[in-house]
Amino acid sequence: MRKFLGDALVLGAPFLVLAAMWEVVARSGVFPQKLFPSLEKVFVTMIRVAGDGILWTHVEATLIRLALGFLIAAVVGVVVGILMGRFRMVEDVFLPAVSAAYPIPGLAYAPLFVLWFGLGNLPAVLLVGVASCFIVIINTWKGVKAVKPMWLRAAAVMGARERQMFWKVIVPAALPYILIGVRLGLAQAWRILVAVEMLMSVDQGLGWMIFGARQFLETDVMLAGIAVIGLIGVLLEKQVFARLERYTLVRWGMLTA
């Protein structure tokens, strides 16, 4: 118990220091209270928006958009990546396009997508998908390319059919790379989703909540929104992926925990 308290204190100390600094600045009056609210106010606002359900509709909208966009990126990325890794023809056609599109930040396409698909949900989800699929493609492709030829030959010698070869050799061998790609893809999707929501004027979503609050100078709502965004980011990183990795890679012995 004592050790637990000590750990909590060590972990909490930096936040306490930061909070104290924030309070000093907020109450000193260097910035107007309206623009730089005290933590107490931010906290109260957070409880309020959580209590009357506004926060949850925004969180829900953002998470659904993230899930759909990420799903597009993962499916397209893994399929194209595997095809590129397996077939020379596909690689030749797609590789120049992928390497040309990869260094362009996904957000740069936003106005073009607005032009093509209008404002709202469809372009937002599509843009998140397009922006995060390239990193999945590249990692999957590398993973399939990195399968040891020895394993392929061994499987062929033992009479594996094309299908068995794919499911029993290539997929497990490429999986560490694929998962890295998928993980990076999700991180990428998350990083741009908030900005996409601001640019696409969707009707709900955390990005939109922050952006909209600016018009009414509701700094407390904005800070509460940013806190929630940070929390979701940490959860995605620590919970979703750490788990996925434990259940697949570590279990199959492709990676040690």
Partner: protein, 262 residues
């Protein structure tokens, strides 16, 4: 794994590009979308060439790149010392790590609206957002890099009578250098995304992101696509040419990483 030049690879690469361009052309001319939305290639090239000729492409590109480089510089100024302290001193690590792991997952662009309230629209906000995006990959990688310096080297240097200062300059710094480079490289990628978002949302005077955003109002899809190509070209140039050269001349030369890594 040096990429061997071969005519076959060149031919195949070109064929791929030609195939995709042909696909776009058929699509653009098919009339499925209006040509104002999906302009054919000759129009894009013509408009792009005009942007290059009247100098606006360079001017906007220079502004965007300048913001990224300034942000990267500021981020290194903060990130390298913080990362080094975190890697060297347990106290600093205990204090900073929780803060870093909470702030890192917040997308930099989420701060744009609040920075606009604090600092107004324009240059300051854009550069701050870029700096925010670039700082955390640098801190994180420098921290990992300092911790990854082999304890054996440190003990060897200490037993040969190195002072703390020498230890730092001759062992820790070169030992962590490859990670520092990785951090800066990653930070460039992040900054490059942030600058485009920042330019669209915070409206500084010039910049490629701004051009794309403004072109939307006038249905200028040729300008948008030409600017996209410009953004891609600058990004690719930095990633492949600038960073690769710097890496080859420094860390690879010192034997810290294998030269010509893909």
């Amino acid at each position: 794994m040096k990429l061997a030049f071969s005519w076959r690879a060149l031919w195949r690469g070109t064929a791929g590009i030609i195939f995709l361009v042909a696909l776009w052309e058929t699509f653009a001319r098919s009339g499925m979308f209006s040509q104002a939305l999906t302009p054919p290639l000759d129009k894009i090239v013509a408009v792009g060439w005009q942007l290059v000729l009247d100098g606006s492409m360079f001017r906007n590109g220079a502004h965007t790149l300048g913001r990224v480089l300034l942000g990267l510089f500021l981020a290194s100024l903060v990130g390298i010392p913080v990362g080094m302290l975190m890697g060297r001193f347990r106290m600093a690590e205990r204090f900073s790590l929780p803060l870093v792991s909470v702030l890192m997952p917040i997308p930099s662009l989420a701060w744009v609206p609040i920075f606009i309230l604090w600092f107004g629209i324009g240059e300051t906000t854009t550069i701050l957002v870029v700096t925010y995006a670039a700082t955390f990959p640098i801190i994180y990688n420098v921290w990992i890099g300092v911790r990854a310096v082999s304890p054996l080297w440190m003990r060897a240097a200490l037993s040969m009578g190195a002072t703390q200062r020498q230890l730092f300059r001759k062992v820790v710094l070169p030992g962590a250098a490859p990670y520092v480079f990785t951090g800066i490289r990653l930070a460039f990628g992040r900054a490059w995304i942030a600058v485009i978002g920042g330019e669209m949302l915070a409206n500084p005077a010039w910049g490629l992101g701004r051009v794309i955003f403004d072109a939307n109002e006038f249905l200028n899809s040729e300008v948008m696509i030409a600017s996209l190509i410009g953004i891609g070209a600058i990004g690719l140039f930095f990633e492949r040419v600038v960073f690769q050269t710097v890496e080859n001349r420094t860390v690879a030369r010192w034997g810290m990483v294998f030269a010509g890594r893909a």
